[in-house]
Every structure is written in C-alpha cells, then in structure tokens.
C-alpha cells in the first residue's frame, strides 16, 4: 500500500540508530467519530510508523485523546460513542470489525493513562496482572517478566528490594513508570500514552521522557501531550489537531520549525491554546 511516510531519520536523536525499515503500523482513514449527536472527530486520515514516537498535540477538547482511545477501542466503554465513517487498520486489520476480539486488540495495543492508576496491590502483582489474565502460572516466567518489564521501565533498581510493597507506596513518577512496566509486561506492539506526564513534576517527567526514548527501540508509541516542548523533545512525528480536525501532520522538526499551516504556527508559537 502506498505510504505517505518516507523511510527517514527525521527525528533529531535518531541519526545514530541503525536504519530500520519503517512501515506503517496504524492507518487511520477518513475517520468520523461521534459522542452521541456531537461530532468529535472530522475526517481524520493518518498513518503511524513502526518504532517511532508519534505525538498528538492541540488545545483541550481538540479530539486528540478521543483519537488515541479509538486506537485500542477504549471508547467502547463510553455510552453513545461510535465511529460513523472511515476505519482504523492496524497491520491491515480493521479493528472495528464485528469479529474483532477487543481483548486481543488491547493486549497488542497497550495504554498508559494520564493519571497513574496502579492497582492497590503489590508492585509484583501489578506487573504480572496482564500475564495472570492470560493464564500464566509459571513462577519463574512471572519473575522473569517482572524483572524485564521493570528494567524496561527503568524502575527495577528503585524497587527491586520491595517488590511486594504496595504499588500505591511509590511516588507519582514511579507509579507512572510502574504502569508502563505493567503495559510492556504483556509485550504489546503499540503503546498509547495519554498525557502520561501531566500529573508529574519536572524531574519525574524527564525520567519518563528518557524512558520513551528507550522504549521506541522496541515499540511503536503514540503519545498525547499538552506540553509542546515534550512533543518536540521526544517525538519523531507530530500531528496537530484543532476542533476535531487534523490540521497538520509532519515530522516534528518541520511542525515546530516550519509549520505549513498558519493555525499550527499560531499554536506552537504559543499564541493560543
């Protein structure tokens, strides 16, 4: 299929990495989305490339979170939410088909939420939650998974001595990284992040951003953020939304340096939003 994406190394930090074949993982085509009678998304078309970080930016209520939640069908939980036109394909599979098992989809498309939401269980139990759901009982496998995931989330060194302490005993930033660990424990292909740092202080935010850089070596990441610096720092491509419409989608550098659309320019230069 024709891809609007060029195999490129546009992300500033990417240059050193060995070149990888970038093919689109997620394709969104002509998507209209409604909450009840009000339309939240208008005619969105967009492709997300493998093992890149794609950022969705835009003022509040522009539909960026809605689009994100469409990608693993979390919107199914909301009454009256429906896709009225268009489709979302992940690896060519239309995820809103009737015969799609949502649980399987969500195992492959993980999500990290705005507010960290560890279960009031131990750190260990939090991480293996997803594996236990899949029926994994083998203790060694679980232990391994806990270590890899926590290492993957850059949390291992901080918590390795207290794996059985409550997840709620961690600090805000640690909790958010625990949630990331929990997500990568089930080895998804895509990780969706819904403003993962909006409730964190700058130091914790820096840690999470660093983590995102590491994660993109293995996962495709879509991140919604309010913070334009964050988008500039850690994403390869950026999509700017306004009033439910996709205004501009381009390599991050271009969006911030030479936006082609005046609205984008106004937003990234801080004149509204």
């Amino acid at each position: 299929m024709p891809s609007p994406l060029l195999p490129s190394s546009l992300g500033s930090a990417e240059g050193r990495n060995p070149p990888v074949v970038r093919r689109p993982v997620i394709e969104i085509a002509d998507l209209d989305f409604h909450y009840g009678t009000s339309q939240a998304l208008h005619d969105i078309s967009l492709s997300i490339a493998e093992k890149e970080v794609t950022a969705f930016i835009g003022p509040s209520g522009c539909g960026k979170s809605t689009l994100l939640r469409c990608l693993n069908r979390m919107n199914d939980l909301i009454d009256g939410a429906r896709i009225s036109r268009g489709a979302i394909r992940i690896r060519g599979v239309d995820i809103h088909q009737r015969d799609v098992e949502v649980m399987e989809l969500r195992k492959r498309v993980g999500m990290v939420f705005q507010k960290s939401n560890p279960f009031p269980k131990s750190i260990y139990e939090n991480v293996v939650y997803g594996l236990r759901l899949q029926g994994v009982r083998d203790k060694t496998r679980l232990d391994e998974a806990v270590e890899t995931s926590l290492r993957g989330a850059a949390l291992w060194d901080e918590v390795k001595d207290r794996l059985h302490a409550s997840g709620l005993s961690l600090s805000g930033g640690q909790q958010q990284r625990l949630c990331i660990a929990r997500t990568i424990a089930i080895e998804p292909e895509v990780i969706l992040m819904d403003e993962p740092c909006s409730a964190l202080d700058p130091i914790a935010t820096a840690k999470v951003e660093e983590l995102i850089h590491q994660l993109k070596l293995r996962y495709t990441i879509v991140i919604v953020t309010h913070n334009m610096q964050q988008a500039a720092r850690c994403s390869d491509r950026t999509a700017f939304f306004y009033l439910g419409k996709l205004i501009e989608f381009a390599p991050t550098k271009d969006i911030f340096m030479t936006p082609s659309n005046p609205q984008t320019e106004a937003y990234v230069s801080g004149r509204f939003g």
Partner: protein, 530 residues
C-alpha cells in the same frame, strides 16, 4: 476475515468458543442481567400475588351483600337503625342525668337519695321515653331471627351444593346424589318479614305520636336545665321527622334488586365498619382502618418532623465536629431498634407513663385527658415518631449536606448571620430534599406493623371526631395491624382472608404512591439546585 489471513501477525479476531451462540463473557453479562431483573420480577410478583389472592374478594363480597339483601337482613337493618337512633337519644338523657346528678351531689351538697328524689320527675319522663320503643324493639328482634334463619338456611344449602360438586368431581356420583340440596325460595321465605309491614306501620304511628307528645313535654320536665331539654325536644322532633323516609324506603324495598360489583367495591372503600365473624352480618369496610393508620401516622409525624428536621439542621449547620461525630451514629443506632422491641416498650412502660402524665392536674384543660385507655393512638404515635425520626433525620441531613458550600459562603460574604444564612439560603435550597425526607418518613410509618399491632389499642372504630383533639387519644386499629392480627386466624380462600389481602393491596399502592412522589420531588430538586 480476509484481513486475518492476510495479516496473521496481528491475530485479533474472535475466538470460536461459544455456548448457545454466546461467548463466555456475554453469558456472564446475561447472568448479571438476569439478577438485576429479579427486583423487577419481585415487584411484579408482589402485585400479581396480592391481586391473585385478593381480587376475588370483590366477587365474594358482592355475594355476601346479595345474600344480605335476599335474606331480608337489609330490610330488618333499616328498622334496627331506627331503633339505634332512639337508643342514642336515650343516651343523651342519661348524660343529662349524670351531669345534673354530679352537680347536685357535688356543688349542691345533696345526698344521693335526695338528689334522686329531686330527679324523680325526670326519671319518669326518661322511662316513658325508653318504653316507647319497646314494641319496635320487639318487632326487630323477632324479624332478626327470621332473617338470620333464612341466611343460615341459604348457607347450609350452599355448603351442600359445594359438597355435591366435590363428590361429583371425585367421581362419587351415587354419594353426590344422596346430598340433598333444596333451593332456597327467598320470596316465600321472606313472606313473614314482608307481612310484618302493617304491624310495623302501626307501631311506627304509635311511636311517632308518643314521641311527639314527649318532645313537647320536654321543656316542662322539672329539675333539669331547660336549654338541654329544649335541645332534646328538637332532636326528638327531627328523629320523628325521619320516620316517613324510613317507611318509604321499606315500602320500595325489593329483595330481588341485584347488588352491583361497584357496590361491593364502594362498600369496601367507604365502608365504615370492619366487622367479622358476626352472627348477623359481616362488613368489610376499610375506612376505620385507614383512618386509624392515618391518625397514628399524623401523630408520629407531628412529633418526628420538628425533631428530625431540627436535629438535622443543628447537626449539619451548627454543631461542632465533636458533637456531629457523637450525634449522627447515635441516631443511626436508634434506627436499628427493632420495632417489636419498641412495641413491647409501649406496652410495658410508655402506655402507663403517658396515662399517668395525662392524669396530672395541670393538664386538665387538654380534651380527652386523662387518658381512658393505656394503649391508644397516642402511645403508638409516639413510638412511631421514634421510628420515623432517624429516617427523616438522615435524609434531611443528606439534603442539607448537598447544598453547595459556595451558597453558604456567598451569603456570609454579604454579611448575613448564621441564622439568616440557614433560614434564607440553606433551608430553601434543601427544601425539596427535606420534603421528600418527610414523605419517606411517612411511608416508613404507615407501613410499620408491630408497634401499632401492640400499642394502638386495636379497636376497630372510626374515632369520634366530634370530640375534637380527644379523638387522637382513642384506641384505633390500623391496616397493617389488622393483617398481622387476623391473618393467622382466617380460612384460606374465604372472604375474610381475601379481604385482608385487599387491605394489603391498598397498603401496597399507598406506599408506592408515597415513595414515588418522594422520588419525584427529589429528582426535580437534583436537576435544579434552586
């Protein structure tokens, strides 16, 4: 599905494990949905079974009233009421005598004999008045027996008929043939009663003449207050004036006239008598029970509303946090008192306590005091008040709690005092919540059984409202009480059993209405904060 085959690297199609065409998750959801249906089902079943057991009452009552007319009991009752009115007049005379007697012996300082002597002329008059009714009384009792006999005969035959039907159903035809059923011919049976008409008219003429004479002589009776005797005279004239109407009604009376189902219905709803297992005629009128329930609830709410709402305002707006922590759980604790224990407390302590208080001299001005009965509407009402208080308190406190803090702050910022804020801002905002709290309290009280069963005195009679406020100190019976009391003693399927279920239906719909109204008020208030 074509996609799946093309892209096996992303297998997210549904698994095929299905039971009856449903995935396991859908089955689980169905299970929970079924459980949620239970409450709807229960409400439907309650309605269904109340009606199933109760509805037939109206047919049975129609039958009951029909027999009452066919057997001539209705006819005789017209005369009986005439006689009873006379008795009421007689009671008036008795009352006059008692008052005068007390006056003479008390203030007048006369001995009892002397007082009796003083009243001799009055007693003569009184006796003459009483004697006047004797012929009518004799006729009524004579006819009563005849009518009763007809009714009994009819019911014996009905029983036999049922027996025969049962035997036939059991396939024992020969035995069934032996059961003798005689059709009761009401026309023939009623002949002696209807034949008494001329005798009745004669008696009535004499009675009217005699009473008229007595009425005009009433003024002249010495030794008793003239104004009371004047009143008596007018009452007697009124009474006699009603005679032609009674005669007219008896003349047009026809045993063949059918009793409609509507009549059976209205006899229940508006019937002023609940009389069961009577040798003469059973009446199933819900009115005395309804009035009893209502009166007891009124007393309870009169006590509980000021206390409950007042305490809610105090705890929510004025009390210190320590007081709040103390008072709220304690009132919640009162809510847990089992009603039967409160009922027992009423019997054991409160009834006697209230009566002794009512005997105090400084309360003499209250009509109806001192209390004649230990167990009466007041005793039950007080205890029901204690039951209603926690309900009203908790819900009213909730309503006050829901008033946005900003309202209060805005009012304070404008320089209002605490009292002004409470009266002008907080209470108006929470008003519909408070009203619905009171309504739900009413629902709680009207459905309460054990307290009224034990403490209300259980006298099935509409209280005498001419006594004014004293009516609230009389024993009453209630709808809940009657069900609890009589359900254990009735035969399944009989009219009395069904009547109790109909009382249950009334109670059920009454509580639904109250509850529904309360919810409606509450909903409206949630939508519009002010």
């Amino acid at each position: 599905m074509a996609d799946t085959s093309k892209a096996p690297s992303f297998p997210i199609t549904k698994r095929r494990l299905r039971f009856f065409g449903l995935t396991s998750d859908e089955l689980v959801q169905l299970f929970f949905r079924g459980n949620a249906m239970v409450s709807v089902l229960v409400l439907a079943l309650i309605t269904l079974f109340l009606f199933r057991e109760g509805l037939e009452f109206f047919g049975q009552n129609q039958q009951n009233l029909q027999v009452y007319r066919r057997a001539g009991l209705d006819y005789v009752d017209h005369m009986r009421w005439q006689e009873q009115d006379h008795t009421a007049l007689n009671r008036y005379l008795l009352d006059v005598r008692m008052k005068v007697m007390a006056d003479l012996t008390g203030r007048g300082g006369l001995s009892v004999e002397a007082a009796n002597q003083r009243l001799e002329a009055f007693d003569q008059y009184s006796i003459r008045f009483d004697d006047a009714i004797a012929p009518l009384r004799g006729l009524v009792s004579e006819l009563s027996e005849t009518a009763s006999a007809i009714k009994t005969k009819y019911y014996i035959n009905e029983d036999k008929r049922t027996e025969r039907r049962q035997l036939l159903a059991a396939g024992r035809a020969d035995e069934a043939a032996r059961v003798e059923v005689i059709q009761v011919d009401f026309a023939r049976e009623l002949e002696p009663i209807l034949a008494s008409r001329d005798a009745y008219l004669a008696i009535n003429r004499d009675l009217a003449r005699e009473l008229q004479e007595l009425a005009s002589a009433a003024r002249a009776v010495p030794g008793v207050p003239v104004e009371r005797m004047d009143r008596f005279g007018t009452l007697v004239v009124q009474y006699v004036g009603g005679f032609p109407q009674i005669e007219q009604r008896l003349a047009t009376w026809d045993y063949r006239e059918d009793v409609s189902l509507l009549r059976s219905f209205s006899a229940f709803i508006f019937g002023r008598q609940w009389l069961t297992a009577s040798f003469w005629q059973d009446w199933y009128g819900v009115l005395p029970l309804f009035v009893g329930s209502l009166m007891v609830s009124m007393i309870a709410l009169t006590l509980a509303v000021p206390l409950g709402v007042g305490a809610a305002i105090y705890v929510n707006q004025i009390a210190s946090p320590t007081e709040q922590r103390l008072i709220k759980p304690c009132i919640e604790f009162i809510a847990a008192f089992p009603s039967v224990v409160l009922g027992f407390f009423g019997i054991a302590v409160l009834g006697e306590f209230l009566r002794s208080i009512s005997g105090a001299a400084w309360l003499d001005w209250v009509p109806g005091f001192p209390l004649a009965e230990r167990l009466n509407a007041l005793t039950a009402g007080c205890l029901l008040g204690l039951i209603a208080v926690p309900t009203i308190f908790t819900l009213a406190e909730d309503a006050l709690q829901n008033v946005p803090r900003s309202f209060k702050e805005a009012s304070f910022a404008l320089g209002a005092t605490r009292l002004q804020t409470i009266v002008r801002v907080i209470i108006p905002t929470a008003l519909s919540g408070i009203i619905s709290a009171v309504l739900l309290g009413l629902g709680r009280v009207i459905g309460e059984t054990m307290v009224v069963l034990l403490c209300a005195g259980n006298r099935i009679e509409i209280p005498d409202f001419t006594a004014g406020i004293a009516a609230f100190f009389q024993p009453v019976h209630t709808m809940t009480g009657i069900i609890a009391q009589e359900m254990g003693e009735v035969v399944r399927g009989e009219i009395h059993y069904r009547a109790l279920f109909v009382v249950g239906i009334v109670l059920f719909f009454l509580s639904l209405t109250i509850n529904f109204t309360a919810q409606k008020i509450l909903r409206r208030y949630r939508q519009q904060p002010l």
